[in-house]
Point group: C2
Chain length 253, copies 2
Amino acid sequence: MTTKEEPPSRALATQLRAKIQRGDYAPGEKLPSERTLAAEYGIARNTAAEAVRLLAEEGLVTRQHGKGNFVRGEQALIRLGSDRYSPKYRESGLSPFLLECEKQGKVGRFEVLSVEKIRSPEWVADELGVENGSNVLERENVFWASDDPVYRVTTYVPWGIAKGSGLLRDEIPHKYGIHGIFEDKGYVMARIRESVKTRMPTPEEAEHLQLPSGVPVLEVVHTSLTAEQTAYEVTRFVMRGDMSGLLYNMPVE
Amino acid sequence: MTTKEEPPSRALATQLRAKIQRGDYAPGEKLPSERTLAAEYGIARNTAAEAVRLLAEEGLVTRQHGKGNFVRGEQALIRLGSDRYSPKYRESGLSPFLLECEKQGKVGRFEVLSVEKIRSPEWVADELGVENGSNVLERENVFWASDDPVYRVTTYVPWGIAKGSGLLRDEIPHKYGIHGIFEDKGYVMARIRESVKTRMPTPEEAEHLQLPSGVPVLEVVHTSLTAEQTAYEVTRFVMRGDMSGLLYNMPVE
DNA sequence: TAGTGGTCTAGACCACTGG
DNA sequence: CAGTGGTCTAGACCACTAT
């Protein structure tokens, strides 16, 4: 007996989970239909569906309306490394994100959703060390790996820095991108500060990132600092958890 | 109309979500009972329960058998910083984990679950740069913040390093803990490498960490390196997402 | 059109919590 | 004990996918 006295839906979930982990159902494979499972186990269809839902919440199974329930295959993670701002990527013209996508046979690209002047939310003001509610530039982007949206990214820059610069345009008019513009204005990245947490997506995020149930997001808040410890840019990444990860490599100080 | 043509369970979920976010139901507050909701909205109890379940999956609500459904309050995060291995914590005798707990009025402690000699799993061998299946020491711990288990931690050390050392004992016989022992043997931490990802907990992890549904975990794999880039220790953290986060602060190289 | 999941109903009984 | 969630049943109809 796997466990003692599990109710039918959980018992079925336990059996299916074991079969998945044992490889009886391979990644990508379709599970028996809920009606079939119900008949085989002598339970109501609702109860079989409940078992499948439990597995979906664990991230083991994806449910597809009209098609069936499928074993979720492990996705290769697109790892954003702590060296992603390193000058070494400059000349190649390739960003770490694009490199990672390529490594996996995908096509990376990003899309500008909006560029606006807004009043800073409190957490942005805190990170930037400016007054709460002061003007900041907000740029919103989506990063795609082939047809999957993987990151939802929002960048904030103090208005005093952004004003009159190429940052206001949709297409960044600089060979080295957004950070090229900062450097031209004298803001050279010396340190970065990043906070990481995880949570379930809001319904809105789930829609934007096309997330099935059972997939959390990583929320990363990145701050760029000059050698004088001046914060000149904050970026918030919302990353789909099943396709992304982080990699840090740093000295102990 | 919030959306068009939502089915009853989702419609109720949408309404409750709005009330929660608006503060009509405060954090910690009890929602109306499922039977009450069902009566008020003219739907079956199952349907009302389904709405609540949706909110639980999003992490907004915690369901408590026999008591009721409650709005989940934001937990203060225990942030493990990248400086947690910094020598500056040495003399104080306080670890960053304990400091964070204290800051929140909690009592931090940890418990040793097991200390064993095993054959290295593949990922451990890869991180340590040793042969797959070679002997390693495995130490398993749980970290508590007052009565909540927050991290499940497993450390691996090449057997050649661990053999005959204090690492084999349950209680580490060194004033500076496990890393004190490494240093005495000539392994001084010069760099760290950490990979971070998120996922839903396995049922086992959910039980160990006492996780309600709608709470993902952070999985961090930490590797300690000497100045010569020799990896001498790997640790895997499984952290409950609603109570923990990470904080990195590092130079751009 | 047939097959699959999405969802609902109405009623039932069990299991847990708290007085 | 009463109140609450946990779960099940049996049947129904809808919505989506594929042929």
